[in-house]
Amino acid sequence: MPLLEIEDLTVRFGGVTALSGIDLSLERGEFCAVIGPNGAGKTTLFNVIAGVIRPSSGRFRFDGAVVHRARPATMRHRGIARTFQVSRVFGSLTVAENVAIAAAGRRLLRPLGALRRYRADSEVSDRVAQLLADTGLSRRARDRADALNIGDVRRLDIARALAGDPALLLLDEPAAGIGVDGMRSLGELISSLRGRGVSVLLVEHYVGWALSLVDRAVVLDMGEKIAEGLPADVRANPRVITAYLGHSGQAGAAEGSAASGGRDGAETAPAALPPSASTAAGPLANRARTAAAQQESSTVGATPSARADARTVAPPTTDGAALLRIADLSVTYGHVSAVRGVSLNVHPGEFVTVVGANGAGKSSLLKCVMGLVPGAGTMIFSDRDLLSEPAHRRAAGGIGYVPEGRRIFPGLTVEENLKVTAGAHPDGAAPMIDQVFAMFPSLARRRHQFGGNLSGGEQSMLAMGRAMMTQPHLLVADEITLGLAPVVVDELFEHLTRMAASGISVLLAEQNAAVALAAADRAYVMEVGHMTMTGPAADLRQDHRVIAAYLEM
């Protein structure tokens, strides 16, 4: 009998179906990965098993018993332990105390047990010492948990989860933000758990890394299970590749591996990297690619003549000075570094896209351009040092921003959404609003509707229109296709292309590589905080290494 059995699981949030008809079973001691692009439903599935979300329908059996009312606190006693994607260690306690509280088990449930002195309990402290040794944290046992670096935080999280001797360990994106070295050593730790007889369910963005650790993988896309099987089979499955790289124009990307070998060397020169680097999979190979890509990027930005040598397929506007020049930019959140030494240029009227799997650092890069998160490095926008300017100054100075998830104001009408943004504009809002409505006729028809009542595609248009209200020279857009139907995606990209044609530069971060590479002039590929490839979008579209960027890390 399997340890975990889930049948026909469906989860709805209001009108949105996050998971539909999912079957999943897990044997004792089996390691299984749940992968899928952003919005696939991975986190929802995780939260159902962890007892955080109650499913709308479906059966959930664990260890032979039906789980009726799952709650975080009771799952622990059933034998399901979890880790957290963001740091949720007990910061004011020592590392050893963090593990001790989780190892206390039934002691906490008996009134007299809870009143015992915890330090005097040698049974627990021996167990804590053993767990810390197993997870490589013995040296940090007496340090406060909030002093740990992110890699050790993940180790502590795993040690804490193991402390209750679970039959099933749920790992929630453990690789997020820990970098390639951290991923390698964390991978070793996870593999070392095999001797314990514990089953592992790993939910992860970094597909290649996850697949290298598990016996079996389940792939979700848009709330449905699209594939299941051995890691190698899943990786080669065309449906999986399509799910990751996008729903539009898949032919080009999928055929890329065959096409790229025979391509003209001169045309792909800026993006071309030694074939040896591209054939080697995994984090270390990516580092080599990164170094090469960074070198390439810096020559792009250096001098016009160097750029002319490097670029032959770029649009005519590229020979002038860059509108936005980013060099060696890093973004860190506490201990987590999301963007590491990234360089990037956007020229006037150019449509540049940054593609990469979820967790690559695309959103952080764009937020940093807009001034929503602090960054270190160089960022020049029409001769101004952007990093020293607050976000509102950047907005007024010619940068429009379409945030991830659109973030329109749901309680304001379409027209009010637009008016709010134009507040600073000297000419008043009316002429710009007319211009936006001319650009997006479907918005004009809904001008008095509340933003919250628009469809996803219309909300995306409204977010784009709102960004246009300040008459920007550069439009920064983050994941505009998220959760939208392919036909709507194509329409949105038509708008972006038209904007670029009218002279507005576009910098778009997009997970849907197929459609983004089809529309953009030039593209950058981002992996684990680094830029690993750059070149004309049409070339990258044919490059099998773009697929690798999604499925190998």
Partner: protein, 330 residues
């Protein structure tokens, strides 16, 4: 001399209250702005039972502790439903409700309160100022012992973990609900004990002495000294409790000075004057063990791999929290 004794007893009563409050606020990390009400419930119980029912002080004190503990249980149950700012507002509301009950329920003596509360006696000997101080110190010793033991127990460690992260704590198997309620009950019981002494010490109780401002003052004492530590709660009570007397010569500006000191402490030493991570605590550990940081200090008691931090010594959720602990990644 007797003036000094009165000031000292007042300070000691405040110390008992803030050591008790620290269990809910410091150990469990719950916002609690109703400690004044629990002081009032304790004081009123002794006042009513020792005057109207002519029970002895000691019996009334036990009733007072029991009733306040039960009221704490009620607040504890409320705390399970609410969090952070909302819980803070509800505790404020609870304080106002309790004062209103004192004021309008005739059993409590109405707006004039209860007066002519008999002095406690022990072995036929009536209490004088000295005895009040001694009993106060005994109560403080009890509060410190209970609170210190709690910090070293599984309960204390569990409270510290749910203070840092409730979801992670629940996922680690901590029974969050009974633990939180226990923290509120113990906090309240200690306040009830202090209230029992407070009533005969002043010989009269009126509803307004237990208002929201009193609760603020007690919370300020805990924050001033260092939230989560017993030493901090006592220092806060001593400094802020004695301050009004020390600055008596500038009577009109006392509150101004009081508030100013609080603002400065919270701005420059948010962990309190001698709390965990405060500058003073750092100096002290370097002075005691040159060459070792505070974290290397294993003297926290007993063997084991745990280190010195212990369950006591954390921070309130919210503004006092370390920056940058929030979102990560995309």
């Amino acid at each position: 001399m007797s003036y000094l004794l009165v000031v000292a007893t007042t300070v000691v009563i405040y110390a008992v209250l803030s050591v008790g409050l620290n269990i809910a606020v410091g150990y469990a990390g719950q916002p609690h702005l109703a400690q004044g009400a629990f002081l009032g419930i304790g004081a009123y119980m002794v006042a009513v039972f020792s005057t109207r029912y002519e029970l002895s002080f000691w019996v009334s004190m036990l009733i007072a502790i029991a009733v306040t503990a039960a009221s704490g249980l009620l607040l504890g149950v409320i705390s399970l439903r609410l969090r952070d700012d909302f819980l803070a507002i509800v505790t404020i509301g609870v304080n106002f409700v309790v004062v209103a009950i004192f004021q309008y329920v005739p059993w409590f003596g109405g707006a004039t309160g209860v007066y002519a509360i008999p002095l406690p006696s022990i072995g036929g000997q009536q209490f004088g100022n000295g005895e009040f101080l001694i009993l106060g110190l005994v109560m403080l010793a009890i509060a410190v012992a209970v609170s210190g033991y709690l910090a070293r127990s599984w309960l204390g460690l569990g409270l510290a973990s749910l203070r840092d992260d409730e979801l992670a704590s629940a996922s680690s198997g901590t029974p969050v609900a009974p633990f939180k309620i226990t923290a509120f009950v113990v906090s309240a019981a200690i306040a009830g004990m202090a209230g029992a002494l407070y009533a005969p010490f002043l010989s009269a109780v009126t509803p307004t002495s237990f208002g929201f401002t009193e609760s603020i003052v007690m919370l300020a004492m805990v924050m001033f000294g260092g939230v989560g530590t017993i030493r901090g709660a006592i220092l806060g009570a001593v400094v802020l409790g004695a301050l009004p007397e020390i600055f008596r010569f500038v009577s009109d500006y006392r509150l101004l000075i009081f508030g100013g000191i609080l603002v400065l402490v919270l701005r420059f030493q948010p962990q309190g004057i001698i709390g965990t991570d405060s500058a003073a605590a750092g100096w002290w550990s370097r002075f005691r063990r040159p060459g070792h940081s505070a974290d290397d200090d294993g003297s926290g008691g007993g063997a084991g791999p745990y280190g010195a931090v212990g369950a006591a010594g954390g921070s309130l959720p919210g503004p006092v929290d370390a920056p940058g602990a929030g979102s990560a990644g995309e």
